[in-house]
């Protein structure tokens, strides 16, 4: 049986209350908007990508504790990563929160605290909203992406 404390870990509450890298970057060269039509969560992700490396990243928006913390943790993890590494991270992150046997990789760092989402299928889309938005931002697709 799923346990609430697996989902709502202290790190998640912390990032929900004090989201890191919150606000618009001064001069982003990539951005995208994400929307979860099921719960109304909205997010805008701003990136500065230079030579295939994510130099800076921030986000704005409103959402539940899981989507806010996930976006905040994403911004912390991505700085300094290459685009290819970011794609790889999303793949591993998605596997971690949707499959039972996928273990968190070393590159994930703090993202591991999101692994409890696995027991809450209804919340997977909350946790992945920022990541879907990242994919769109890397492609510089400025139309709103949707989790549906």
């Amino acid at each position: 049986m799923s346990d609430l404390t697996d989902l709502y870990q202290e790190v998640i509450f912390d990032h929900n209350k004090r989201p890191r890298n919150f606000g618009k970057l001064f001069e982003p060269n990539r951005f995208a908007k994400g929307f979860n039509p099921l719960c109304g969560d909205r997010i805008t992700l701003y990136l500065n990508v230079d030579d295939g490396v994510i130099r800076d990243v921030s986000f704005e928006g409103q959402g539940c504790a899981i989507s806010t913390a996930s976006a905040s943790l994403l911004t912390e993890t991505l700085k300094g990563k290459t685009e290819a590494e970011a794609h790889e991270l999303f793949k591993d992150f998605h596997a971690m929160i949707t499959t039972d046997d996928a273990q968190p990789t070393e590159a994930m760092g703090k993202l591991e605290v999101m692994s409890g989402v696995r027991e809450f299928p209804a919340r997977v889309k909350c946790a992945t909203l920022a990541w879907h938005t990242l994919e769109a931002a890397l492609k510089n697709e400025q139309d709103s992406v949707s989790t549906e």
Binding site: M1, L4, G40, D41, C64, A65, R123
Partner: protein
Amino acid sequence: MTAATLTKQQAATGYDLVRVREDFPILKELIHGKPLVYLDNAATSQKPWSVINAERDYYTHLNANIHRGVHDLSQRATDAFEGARNKARQFINARKNEEVIFVRGATEAINLVATSYGRSKLKAGDEIIVSEMEHHSNIVPWQMACEATGAVLRVIPISDSGELDMDAYAKLLNERTKIVAITHVANALGSITPLKKITAMAHAAGAIVLVDGAQAAPHVKIDVQDLDADFYALSGHKIYGPTGIGILYGKEALLEAMPPYQGGGDMIRTVSFKKTTYNTLPYKFEAGTPFIAGGIGLGAAIDYLNELGLDAIAVHEHDLLLYTTEQAKSIPGLKIIGTARDKASVFSFTLAGVHPHDIGTILDHEGIAIRTGHHCAMPVMERLGIPATARASFGLYNTHGEVDALFDGIRKVQKVFA
């Protein structure tokens, strides 16, 4: 809750809640190891044994196609299905069974009217009026009809409490207004609209009125003649009947003049490559084999409601809503969304500092099922400046003890998020 609590309520309202709860087998389910507290009745209601048995009995003893067999079984199935239509007619007080069309639900009923009536009657520049607190199913079909015909959609604004701005409505009505499509009970807020006034004003302007009654049917006694509604849409699954079956009521003269919605078997009189002629009402709008078991199940649900008495149900649910509204005062940071004076048993709310989705997950772990999100009414959320709400909606089997459980759960949410 204890039996003693139930008995007290029973004495207070004359309503046999213990027996009622026995009628609904699902209420014995455990969710995360706790007794199910089902407060998502506005999304769909649970089914009593009589409805479950009616469907099973149909497949066990009556299953045959209707309106076409010469054999006895087909006749029995036809009688049962048409018997259900008659029950539905009485339930909404339509004049004739010909005015009662079986559809998949309120959504299909509205699409039928928007397509058949809308596209054949509307022309460029005509106007359709909806309200700001409609469910998407009473917005999108009209937008599609506008796109097809060049008609224009106009919107009646609502107040902060969730009441229609009737002065604005009066100003919107004009000689170009052809259709007013309006909810009877708003799904996200619970507001009950002043329908008699709305229909009278529309008729005076020469427009017809479609009422979305999906949320009203379980709470309010419906009399389409008294309301003078031209069309009335409802879903079986919100009134303790099966999913996938619903009713479209339409005034006979309007239905007669409308082209068919879908073509196929049962809706025709004769078919030839030269000219096909259509069947009489209501069959003109019932192409293909319908959900026969569902229709019969809906009939059983109507019998069940009649047996309990719609008035007694309304008193019980209103009492639950008052109790809930009172309890809400003890929760700091709780804001009730939708405070119309005339309101059905829908309790939509937000909690300071906690997103509705998180409320929903934590309550679920207490066995409490509520809805969170925009409730398929995104324009309402936009109007009120909130992304989402948490919504508890009460049905005829809910108890005061379950309301207490809801507030214990809300206090737990606040503790977790403190």
